[in-house]
């Protein structure tokens, strides 16, 4: 596991925490925390996000290792599916009432 460079001023880096609530489900973002390294991030995540059996597995990821889409491009980045209603089953109405379809 890689550990991000410690930030200036002795501030521990931020980690994003993902928790699998039970077997068969995917890990879901639970929140974030500060920790000096991956091992401590996991322990802190356990104490902070699974005090009541909320999880069977935890991932911690250095926040600055995550790439995300640009919030300013809400429209253009996600525009491809727009107007393509035919990708949904509900687009096909002529078969209404036909059983098992």
């Amino acid at each position: 596991m890689t550990t991000p460079e410690p930030h200036a001023g002795n501030v521990w880096p931020i980690w994003e925490v993902f928790v699998r609530s039970s077997r068969g489900l995917s890990h879901v973002h639970a929140g974030s925390l500060h920790a000096p390294d991956a091992a401590m991030a996991l322990r802190n995540a356990r104490d902070l996000y699974t005090r009541r059996n909320e999880g069977v597995s935890i991932w911690v990821v250095p926040a600055d290792a995550i790439a995300s889409s640009d919030p300013d491009s809400k429209g253009s980045f996600f525009e491809s599916p727009q107007g393509k209603d035919y990708r949904h089953a509900t687009y096909y109405t002529k078969s209404e009432g036909v059983k098992h379809l």
Binding site: N10, V11, R52, A63, S73
Partner: protein, 345 residues
Amino acid sequence: MASQTLQSVPAEPSPARHETRHEMSPEDAARRDAEGQAYFDKVMAEDSRIEPRDWMPAAYRKTLLRQISQHAHSEIIGMQPEANWISRAPSLKRKAILMAKVQDEAGHGLYLYSAAETLGQPRDQMMQDLMDGKAKYSSIFNYPARTWADMGAIGWMVDGAAIANQVPLCRASFGPYGRAMVRVCKEESFHQRQGFEILLELSNGTPEQKQMAQDAVNRWYAPALMMFGPPDDDSPNSKQSMAWNIKRFSNDELRNRFVGMMMEQVKVLGLTLPDKDIRFNEETKKWEHGPLDWDEFHEVLAGRGPCNAQRLERRREAHENGAWVREAAAAYAAKQAKKQAKEVA
């Protein structure tokens, strides 16, 4: 939750997107702000959510930062009146419960600091502001917890008031705040019930125990009602917070609703509330209560309550005593990272 730190990859290579704000021409900055404001207004009108990297008005950011950090500080300072009783809990069971509750308060503080950080304020700065006495926290935690019954009254009334305040905040327009509150609210109901149970057991105990429970309720009643903040006509920021979908109900609305709940629950406890003026107003269909001492509220908030100095002193002490742990953990992480780098090379 601290997703402001995430690296964003532009959807398409566009020179404008790589420019930082100060490099923008005034016209571009103005256009960006106008577009941002329009989008923000649309989100408000649709009662949707603002996320950390969305454009938001400076005053919205400032209001949220103040509210969320004060909320976080309240959770952290709020550990103290109860931690004070861990070593004197009357049974091992009560001790374990109290420890779990105090641990929860620490967790709530951390959820909230994370949410506040997404607005661009570093956590150590918030902590420093608290220790320097620059930041505010709920005035309730500046009252002393004198007897074991206070653990009951705090759980039942203080956490009860907190829940009444926090449930509507789960729908706050700022995503990270709402999500933190959902988590907090789920955990708070245990806090309130364990407090109620402490009072109920004392109330069913010896006459002295029952008197102790009544005394605790008498002392915590008014401070708990004041947790909802000043009366509506003396709360200038409330209106704007409601327009921004941060607050959903006014201070007085929440307080009146809370009084109604207390009135029912206190009967089960076999105790009374120290307020002769509580009544249900048939006309307005709202509960009403007697006058509260708002001068006292402002005094405590200004730092002149019974325990303000003690609470901050204890916080500073804990922070200083923990310094070697933080340093050791950082040194160990740095050493391991160096070792790892060597192995890779």
